[in-house]
């Protein structure tokens, strides 16, 4: 009878204030959807950045010269303590690489003369801290024409993802707060609508938790429904996104387990927001005697 009663009362509360309840659910939905998406996008960016970083981080383009000279340079660079690996990529290999990279753009490939492809030494560092020093040392080698830092792109991506992440979280938290306020408002309205009943319940000695539980449940339901919708929308939105948008080199695959675990986190957060919201709403109206 107890559980039946509590659920029945909560359902009545939800039905009585449909608009407000929808508003609260919407607020939870928007805030948690943002948060969920921020988590996913961040994961995508982190994955891609990691994959790039695994490989070469500095490219030293070489002047056209004898293969022997190129080998000398490569060997020299290989010998540096800070360098983990230095790989020579000759003109022919560079051409091949170029062809694969732009396989979907034959027109571009045709305009390029294979002979103009520069050879290069791809350097992988043992430790990223020496980055700047190595770059200038490479640049000082006479045969080196230009030094490109692949890591700049990586850094940019990481930086962008960090910004996106922070922005998403800040927005999520701000919207989350508004969701809590919305929930506390609906609970307050529900309490107001039933103030007579609550007054009598307190008069005849209903325990505080007996009075509070239906309202707590109401907030909890609002939080959970909003969070559930956010997870569903996020899940299908992400599916749609990877199916319809090709970002080329960016690897958009995120493991299913990641989506599920973060989805659970989002649901828990929704429940938490609901509970906090209803407690805030309950606080003022159910105070005891002064």
């Amino acid at each position: 009878m107890r559980a039946e009663y509590v659920i029945g009362e909560a359902a009545t509360n939800l039905r009585r204030n449909v608009l407000l309840v929808l508003g609260a659910i919407l607020a939870v939905f928007v805030s948690l959807f943002m948060t969920y998406m921020a988590l996913v996008v961040n994961e995508v960016a982190r994955n891609s950045a990691e994959r790039w970083q695994e490989g070469i981080s500095i490219i030293a383009w070489l002047d056209d010269a004898d293969l022997a000279d190129h080998t000398l340079v490569t060997n020299e660079v290989s010998g540096w303590d800070e360098v983990k690996r230095a790989v020579y990529v000759g003109k022919a290999e560079a051409w091949q690489e170029f062809q694969t990279m732009f396989a979907d753009n034959p027109a571009l490939v045709e305009t390029v003369d294979p002979a103009s492809m520069p050879a290069s030494v791809r350097v992988e560092l043992a430790n990223n801290e020496n980055h700047q020093a190595i770059v200038s040392r490479l640049a000082s080698i006479p045969l080196v024409d230009e030094v490109d830092q692949a890591s700049e792109a990586v850094e940019d991506t990481l930086e962008a993802s960090r910004l996106l992440n922070t922005g998403g979280i800040v927005l999520g938290v701000a919207l989350g707060l508004s969701a809590v306020v919305m929930i506390s408002n609906t609970v307050r309205m529900a309490i107001y609508a039933r103030r007579e009943e609550i007054g009598i319940m307190k008069l005849v000695g209903a325990s505080n938790w007996f009075v509070r539980t239906p309202f707590l449940l109401e907030g909890l339901i609002e939080g959970l429904v909003g969070a559930g919708l956010a997870v569903l929308a996020g899940w299908f939105g992400y599916r749609w996104f990877i199916a319809n948008l090709d970002l080329g080199i960016i690897d958009t695959d995120v493991p299913q387990s990641f989506l599920v675990s973060r989805g659970l986190v989002v649901l828990a957060f929704g429940a938490f927001a609901g509970a906090v919201g209803s407690l805030v709403g309950l606080r003022r109206y159910l105070q005891e005697s002064k």
Partner: protein, 272 residues
């Protein structure tokens, strides 16, 4: 059953509602609280049900000092203290039966007990035939009977009534008083705040008179207007022959209800 020790209640740091009240009420007593509006009757009732906390002093109810009862224990106090008010406080969307049953349901009493106790108490208040009616379909007197049934259904030790006849005509009031008397005879202590001279004078029970927050008179078989009042307010004296609350100035239509039978003095009535 009830003991007040040096009880004072001050609102907002300046308005004194109760000043240094000391008294003892035995189990099974019937006590009238009388006095003009603002004399502190209602405050005293509210203190006894822990709607308010005293600013000073101790209030012992059923062996507990409710002045420092923690908030979470207040519901348990209320289960042994029934309350009845002038405005009935019934839920309009519930039937008579549901209104009374509500009091048992919300304190988690099992269904079987509700099904058993509610008809019993409805019979006691004479509303068995109207169990499925809604409050709006009842007369004022009947509504007050429902409210008394609700207060009594859990068999409280104490019944507090704050002007229970304040909205009722004299004949109906007598019916309500007979009911309260009957409840009192089951051993329930009754404390009733009232403005009603006729009732107090007819019942001849213990009368406690309040003036500006002080208990100025306490007689065991008293009447409304005591001889020893020192601090009576001129306003009351000026209005004397008329009922001071003015709520029963016009004669009301006779109620087509169970109260009709009653015209005798309630104290002498003898019911089952």
């Amino acid at each position: 059953m009830i003991r007040l020790q040096g009880v004072s209640k001050v609102y907002d740091g300046s308005t004194v509602a109760i000043r240094d009240a000391n008294t003892t009420i035995q189990k099974g007593e019937f006590v009238f609280l009388v006095g003009p509006s603002g004399s502190g009757k209602s405050t005293l009732i509210r203190l006894l049900m822990r709607e308010e906390k005293p600013t000073q002093g101790e209030i012992w109810v059923a062996g507990r000092n409710i002045a420092d009862l923690p908030d979470w224990k207040v519901p348990y106090l209320r289960r042994s203290v029934g309350t009845v008010f002038q405005d009935f406080k019934l839920l309009p969307n519930k039937t008579v039966f549901q209104n009374v049953a509500f009091a048992l349901e919300v304190i988690g009493r099992p269904r079987g007990m509700v099904a058993q106790q509610v008809p019993k108490v409805l019979k006691l208040v004479g509303l068995s035939s109207k169990a499925e009616r809604f409050p709006r379909q009842l007369s004022g007197g009947e509504q007050q009977r429902v409210s008394i049934a609700r207060a009594f259904v859990n068999r409280p030790l104490i019944l507090l009534a704050d002007e229970p006849t304040g909205n009722l005509d004299p004949a109906t009031s007598v019916g309500i008083m007979r009911l309260l008397d009957r409840i009192n005879r089951t051993g329930t202590t009754v404390v009733m705040a009232t403005h009603d001279h006729a009732i107090v004078d007819a019942m001849r029970r213990r009368v406690m008179q309040l003036e500006r927050g002080r208990i100025v008179r306490d007689e065991s078989r008293g009447v409304y207007e005591g001889p020893a009042v020192t601090d009576a307010t001129p306003a009351v004296n000026g209005l004397k022959p008329v009922d001071p609350n003015g709520q029963r100035a016009a004669p009301t239509d006779p109620e087509p209800s169970e109260e009709q039978e009653v015209v005798t003095a309630p104290g002498e009535s003898d019911e089952g």
